[in-house]
Amino acid sequence: MWGRATAAAIPGFLLSAGVTGLACWLLPGPWQSTLVAGIVAFFAVWIAVMALAFQCRNGKRAWAWLGGGAAVSLATLWLLQTLQWVR
């Protein structure tokens, strides 16, 4: 249980940041205009991601899935931002 709980808290937080960030930056218009909606959505997304962590069979898998997802989403976001494909 502890493995999945820590996965929910740590990589879960990063994954939620990546997912919310991608949504806010990929939506049309400047990212500033989705600032408040983004932070509201972030909490809803994080709660859902925490529930997902407990869907995993054990802590190791939860860390792997959420950690992998966090790395991919944050890297994609960073790449898009650096290439200025989103604003």
Binding site: R4, A17, G21, F43, A44
Partner: protein, 537 residues
């Protein structure tokens, strides 16, 4: 829908543990929050003779503003003020001193104090709502509790989902009391789920937004968040002082201008509630006047004006604001029930009390499902949980009613209670809460539960009594005079008192007639009844 038994097991234990960890804090938050819904009415209730005394007007606000600006140079940079009338009977100004501490001034206290005047009771109840009474860390703790609460809701839904269609409206009273409680817990949880999810998200938002934004800044916003935050939250564009003195326009003119601008944007009404003034006395002075336009979701909007000429700088009003301001205003309004008419508030109150019941019943279910059926002596965990539930949950109900009573008595000239009213009601609240917890720790749980429920019933029934004795505003008089703010608080207290009495009797029945061998069974009551029935036979 079929779930793997493994998933079901995991989510059941997530639900249990998260519920246990967060349940106590959530009970306090919901009980105090249900009362906070009526904080406008509470403002009138806690101020003696508020209804009779003359309300201050814009001229008084102007006088306070002039004095504040003259006496406190720091306030010239940024000062805020609530308009008198409506929620606050008297005007109050506030600003940050050189150390970043907030200072508050009124016409009675022009030098300024460090507390917002006139709202000791509603402030205490609100503080219990969002900090559980823990200073500083309580706010962040409640943010984390909100997240756990969201998790408890989802896991509760998942474990209930397979049987949802069959069980939703099944409320099975009868011999199996635990089944009945389980049904009640489920039906309240599922039917009010959308509201609970909304509270989980907005509750986390209101207490953790700043911390999370700081963490998200480097992750998702390339470190540019701080410059974007001002335009997203404020209406007035950021400006710096020109360094050229210019006399400010009158508050009456700016007040009228704000209403005029809102009318021109098609809003039938706009009632200015408070303003933020920057660079007072400078050529670049700006004022942001916020107010309510009833009838819209997110009724609070704002008009930013040049404080010298009254020229419009920007507006964020219902119906014509950007996504950031619309989301913020709706999230706020959804959390506090500040939209629609008075029935929305009544609904929020009922759902809030229902939510408190959800956490109380959750704890009872935990205790009952670990009941040792074959022995009278119950385990230490069950005993401890029962004591804590009774002491914390019923204790806070007693404590809040004590704070209500103390608010009235502290202002009763006949008693000559001097000193700071805020300190007095805090002592009344936290000392009675501690005593209740102590009582629950020392007595058998089932007796403590009955005794504290009766204590809650009696103290809550004394709330309208104290109000009537001290101010003469008895419920029948306030009803006849149409002072519904005062009446609704007293009537609500009486209704709650009956509720506590009913629960006390139900607990006594459980102790006497319910299944034996539980922390809620009382062998003495059982024996007494058996003896009584022998006599009558």
């Amino acid at each position: 829908m079929k779930l793997k038994s493994n998933t079901l097991r995991t989510f059941t234990s997530v639900h249990t543990w998260v519920g246990l960890v967060a349940g106590f804090a959530l009970f306090v938050a919901f009980y105090a929050g249900a009362i906070t819904v009526f904080h406008h009415d509470l403002q009138a209730w806690q101020t003696p003779h508020a209804a009779q005394s003359a309300e201050q007007g814009l001229a008084d606000a102007q006088r306070l503003l002039d004095e504040t600006l003259a006496r406190h140079p720091r306030a010239r940079e940024h000062v805020g003020m609530v308009f008198p009338g409506g929620e606050y009977p008297q005007a109050a100004s506030y600003w940050q001193d050189a150390n970043g501490q907030w200072r508050y001034a009124t016409l009675d206290n022009l030098d300024g104090g460090d507390k917002m005047p006139g709202g000791a009771l509603s402030e205490l109840v609100n503080e219990l709502h969002y900090t559980v009474g823990i200073p500083v860390a309580g706010r962040y703790l409640m943010g984390i509790i909100s997240l756990l609460y969201g998790l408890a809701l989802i896991s509760g839904l998942v474990i209930h989902l397979p049987k949802l269609a069959d069980d939703l409206f099944a409320l099975r009273p009868g011999r199996n009391l635990k089944r009945f409680w389980q049904d009640a817990h489920n039906v309240i949880g599922v039917l009010s789920l959308p509201m609970h999810l909304m509270f989980a998200v907005t509750g986390a938002l209101l207490s953790l937004a700043m911390v999370v934004l700081l963490a998200l800044n480097p992750l998702a916003y390339r470190g540019e968040l701080m410059t974007a935050l001002g335009p997203a939250m404020d209406t007035a564009p950021a400006s710096s002082a020109a360094g050229r003195a210019l006399p400010m326009g009158s508050l009456a003119m700016l007040h009228a201008r704000a209403i005029e601008v809102a009318r021109a944007q098609g809003l039938a009404s706009f009632e200015p509630a408070y303003f933020k003034l920057a660079h007072a006395g400078d050529a670049n002075a700006t004022i942001e006047i916020s107010g309510e336009s009833p009838g819209s979701l997110g009724p609070v909007g704002a008009v930013a004006l040049n404080a010298n000429t009254g020229a419009v700088l920007a507006t964020q009003l219902p119906g014509s604001r950007d996504a950031n301001h619309a989301t913020l205003a709706s999230a706020y309004a959804l959390h506090f029930g500040e939209y629609g008419n008075a029935w929305v508030q009544v609904l929020y109150f009922v759902l809030g009390i229902g939510g408190a019941f959800l956490f109380y019943s959750g704890n009872l279910l935990w205790v009952e499902s670990r009941r040792k059926r074959r022995q009278a002596e119950q385990g230490r965990a069950q005993l401890g949980m029962a004591r804590a539930t009774v002491g914390v949950c019923i204790g806070v109900c007693v404590a809040i009613s004590m704070a209500f009573i103390a608010t009235q008595l502290a202002q009763w000239p006949a008693l000559r209670i001097g000193g700071d009213i805020e300190v007095t009601i805090r002592i009344a609240c936290f000392v009675s809460w501690a005593l209740c917890a102590l009582w629950a720790a020392l007595r058998p749980p089932v007796r403590a539960a009955q005794e504290l429920l009766w204590a809650a019933a009696i103290t809550t029934a004394m709330v309208p009594l104290a109000h009537g004795v001290v101010t003469g505003a008895w419920p029948w008089l306030t009803a006849m005079q149409g002072q519904w703010s005062l009446f609704s608080i007293d009537a609500g207290a009486l209704a709650m008192a009956f509720g506590f009495g009913w629960l006390a009797r139900a607990t006594a029945r459980r102790a006497r007639d319910g299944e034996p061998n539980s922390v809620w069974a009382d062998p003495r009551a059982r024996a007494a009844q058996a003896a009584a029935s022998l006599v009558t036979d």
